[in-house]
Symmetry: C2
Subunit: 185 residues, 2 copies
């Protein structure tokens, strides 16, 4: 088994278990078993549970980054917020599971999500700088964050189609902002 492949298996196993057994019940033994290795092997790759949690957070950040960076770089007005929305829609269509590993990290230590906050703050900054209507874009960002958070916390109040409707409506609203601005300017 190559280094990267085992690491990935461990990360995925931890993520799956965090979702199914609850973020607070994540044990190293269980993760090792789910990943198909021994506890010793697990601790070879991640020398402590804290390190594993950090890796879970970092992994999420990386995925977020690569998924957005391509779409965002068109440089068009509203490219950033549109990329964020598109990414959300894509995740829904693919059935991507929520990043429950983040909850496991949070359960261990509330400060472990600080990197997430930093990254999202940066990203929101780019959204606002790039937006036709910064407040509307911020609202859109928050609403998507709300939808994501609800899935993460298992408190979704909208089903898939209601969610899709809302996102559609939001998208046309944003386009309306953009259009009225470019016609006015």
């Amino acid at each position: 088994m190559t280094r990267g492949a085992t690491r990935r298996r461990i990360l995925d196993a931890a993520q799956d278990l965090a979702r199914s057994t609850g973020p607070g019940n994540l044990s190293l033994d269980a993760v090792a078993a789910q990943a198909g290795i021994s506890k010793g092997g697990l601790l070879y790759h991640f020398p402590s549970k804290n390190r594993l949690m950090e890796a879970l957070v970092e992994d999420h950040l990386n995925r977020f980054d690569v998924a957005l960076s391509t779409q965002e770089k068109t440089g068009r007005p509203d490219a950033a917020i549109c990329a964020y929305i598109a990414q959300f829609v894509a995740e829904r269509q693919c059935g991507t599971p929520p990043p429950s590993g983040l909850l496991a990290a949070l359960a261990e230590d509330p400060s472990m999500l600080d990197p997430v906050r930093r990254q999202e703050r940066d990203f929101l900054g780019r959204i606002r700088a790039n937006a036709t209507d910064p407040q509307m874009a911020t609202l859109a960002f928050m609403a998507i964050q709300g939808l994501r958070a609800m899935e993460l916390l298992n408190t979704q109040v909208l089903n898939r189609s209601e969610e899709a409707d809302l996102v559609d409506w939001l998208t046309t609203r944003l386009q309306a902002c953009s259009a009225s601005d470019s016609s006015a300017g």
Copy 2:
């Protein structure tokens, strides 16, 4: 100490500890110590940790209910969404801490937030039924949920004043919807 007072102290202690030590590190010993009673006393009031977690969730639901029911019952258009926003603003002004007990419950068992989902689903239903523009109201609800979730998860990207600006802007937007509707109808 009367029954209700001790119960309350325990609930508050659990909430505080969940926030400070991380939702996954909440132990009965620590809660008892923080509440100023012994573990035996704690287990007299809540026969198991699960029951304590359920009570934490229920407590949050009750607070949510009583805070909203008065404002919501004016029956005016958009009363529900406005009540929700007003409640959020009031919490911010009072410096109300986030309901970290919910995270502790979630850490123990993902299904423990099911009652929260039900309640919020009901509430969103009332918001939409009562709204001049249901989609706009839903968007507003989601954005507020996003703000709340970010504070809960310790990933706030907006500071207090940015948050206040956004909520102000959102409120005027909603009023604009309402006004254009009543002038059109």
